[in-house]
């Protein structure tokens, strides 16, 4: 095992800010994209249902 403790893991040999900053932002961007896709999907679905109910 490379890491002696959780603190050690988080500190990343003093580079914690940079390493975790990178991975955190990557995660935020990817989760953000997924959420945006989901919202877009919902919006389309809503207008579609509205149109369906109109045409019936």
């Amino acid at each position: 095992m490379i890491w002696k403790s959780l603190d050690d893991f988080i500190a990343m040999g003093g580079y914690g800010f940079y390493v975790w900053g990178s991975y955190l932002v990557t995660a935020v961007i990817i989760v953000g994209e997924i959420l945006m896709l989901r919202a877009r999907r919902r919006a389309v679905e809503k207008t579609r249902q509205a149109q369906l109910s109109l045409s019936e």
């Binding site: 490379i2 003093g14 940079y18 990178s22 990557t26 961007i29 994209e33 997924i34 045409s55």
Partner: protein
């Protein structure tokens, strides 16, 4: 009315297919990411020059690769859309663009966070960095042009022309920037500082890159399904699509 049904046919068959494929890509992306992160943080040894900061490589390099690769794939789809006038190809191109732009941002961001500890500056005007920045501008131009034209078919075709012009230019830009940088004296920091990569490091990077691949495909497919729904709301097959939410 026989309104060129065959043009709708492609999205009509593709839509459910994409729906079936997405979970596969998404799950394999997630699993690969877990494996890659495990390799990156628990298997790969500490770098004797850079210390732990080098662990950024496992996200930085795959993101940089993806950013370039997606642009080329996008231009390919755009060209197909322009030449064969198939709607699905153009939709694929516009579905890929945001994901490509996001990977470019990730590459820039992680690169900057890597640069501060290694070079002492967030940013230097190095050839790779600069051409990555210009790549971001090309993506943004594509997205902005697409957003600025209201008729989606026209937007597809106009931004396809732009993507093609861009793809001719990307290598020119890359080499010109490289030359620019090597001819000038000054900040001669190179990114090949990383030592000969240990096999585990290489493996970690490859697994992470594969995870990014899977994720990109899943995201692009999900987006293309939205685009199909948005654009073809009047098409019959969409109305016939199960009336319950898909």
């Amino acid at each position: 009315m026989k309104l060129n049904w065959f043009k709708y046919a492609a999205p009509a068959t593709f839509y459910p297919l994409a729906g079936k494929l997405i979970p596969w890509f998404a799950w394999s992306g997630a699993i690969l990411a877990v494996a890659g992160l495990y390799l990156s943080f628990f298997v790969a040894p500490t770098d004797f020059q850079q210390g732990e900061s080098y662990r950024i490589i496992f996200i930085h390099v795959p993101a940089a690769w993806m950013s370039m690769f997606i642009y080329i794939v996008m231009a390919g789809w755009a060209a197909a859309g322009l030449i064969f006038n198939t709607r699905l190809s153009s939709m694929m191109a516009s579905a890929l663009a945001p994901t490509g732009a996001l990977f470019t941002v990730i590459a820039l961001w992680t690169g900057a966070l890597w640069g501060k500890p290694t070079w002492g500056a967030w940013w230097v005007w190095d050839a790779r960095l600069t051409s990555e920045l210009i790549l971001l501008f090309l993506y943004l131009g594509f997205l902005a042009l697409h957003a600025a034209i209201d008729d989606p078919r026209r937007a597809d075709r106009a931004s396809a022309v732009l993507a093609l012009v861009g793809v001719v230019n990307v290598p020119i830009i890359y080499f010109s920037v490289k030359w620019w940088n090597t001819l000038h004296q000054g900040a001669s920091v190179s990114m090949t500082m990383a030592p000969k990569m240990a096999a585990t490091m290489l493996l970690g990077m490859l697994v992470m890159a594969l995870a990014c691949w899977m994720y990109s495909i899943a995201a692009a497919l999900a987006r293309v399904r939205c685009i199909i729904l948005e654009r073809e709301q009047q098409a019959e097959w969409i109305a016939n699509l199960a009336k319950e939410p898909t």
